[in-house]
């Protein structure tokens, strides 16, 4: 442990599905717990991850590699990967909601934090959460839809921080 300036992590969160919401929040909260300075820029589909009311879902239809597993039953049943034909995942109303519910249950069962918990940890650990102003304007978001502890900014605001960072990731 040196006494130089803290290491810095700069993340761009650009995807808004439940599965892709995890990497930025896990990395940001953990880096902050490791005494790093962290900023996350939420842009395009990543922006809704800052909404008070988190609606992130998984979409198995657009992700053929996603294992469909059940969070209940015997171990053999849980380990089985259910083949879901596209005709079902794309045509059955509410399929994404069903898959999302299954994934949330699996995660909870394995002791994985919810996105809300990880986001709260980020706020507690002083992670700078930057909402992309341009995305807000394009998609019609208003400031009051987001949690309190965020900054509004654009590419320059993020890049100023990222310019002095040790790790930069686009997620």
């Amino acid at each position: 442990m040196s006494e130089e300036r803290p290491k810095r992590l700069a993340l761009i969160a650009s995807k808004g599905t439940l599965d892709w919401a995890y990497p930025p929040f896990i990395l940001a909260s953990t880096a902050a717990a490791l005494d790093m300075e962290v900023a996350v820029f939420f842009t395009f589909y990543g922006l809704p991850l800052l909404c008070k009311d988190l609606k992130a879902k998984v979409s198995p239809h657009s992700n053929p590699a996603m294992p469909m597993k059940m969070p209940f039953g015997s171990e053999g049943f849980q380990n089985f990967e259910w083949p879901i034909p596209n005709a079902i995942s794309s045509n059955i109303p509410g399929f994404d909601t069903f898959a999302t519910s299954m994934m949330k249950k699996s995660f909870a069962k394995k002791g994985v934090a919810t996105i809300e918990e990880l986001r709260e940890a980020c706020v507690d650990l002083d992670v700078t959460l930057i909402a992309c102003q341009m995305t807000m304007d394009v998609f019609g978001f208003t400031r009051d839809q987001f949690i309190d502890d965020i900054d509004l900014g654009g590419a320059a605001a993020f890049l100023e921080f990222a310019a002095d960072s040790d790790i930069s990731l686009f997620i």
Binding site: M1, K7, I26, S29, T30, A33, L34, D35, M36, K110, G111, V112, A113, E117, L118, A121, D124, L125
Partner: protein, 78 residues
């Protein structure tokens, strides 16, 4: 088993990455320098993660042990 008597204990059993590290950080924060925190976890990944946490934050990992699917860590607050 360790002879160290902890000032505080933290139960992270059943939690998965990155919760044990986050909870450990949160528990250490209000403690005083030199005090010892005992953390019990069941996540096998916590062995590597707690060591990394210790190296990066300077909170010394003074002892650790494992058995019965549990991993025990003793941190001395920086």
């Amino acid at each position: 088993m360790s002879q160290i008597s902890p000032d505080q204990e933290l139960d992270c059993r059943g939690m998965n990455c990155p919760l044990p590290v986050l909870k450990t950080k949160k528990a250490l924060n209000p403690m005083e320098g030199g005090q010892v925190l005992k953390v019990t976890a069941t996540d096998p990944g916590s062995v590597a993660d707690m060591a990394a946490f210790s190296r990066r934050t300077g909170n010394e990992l003074v002892d650790q042990s494992q058995g019965d699917g549990e991993f025990v860590f003793f941190f001395r607050r920086k």
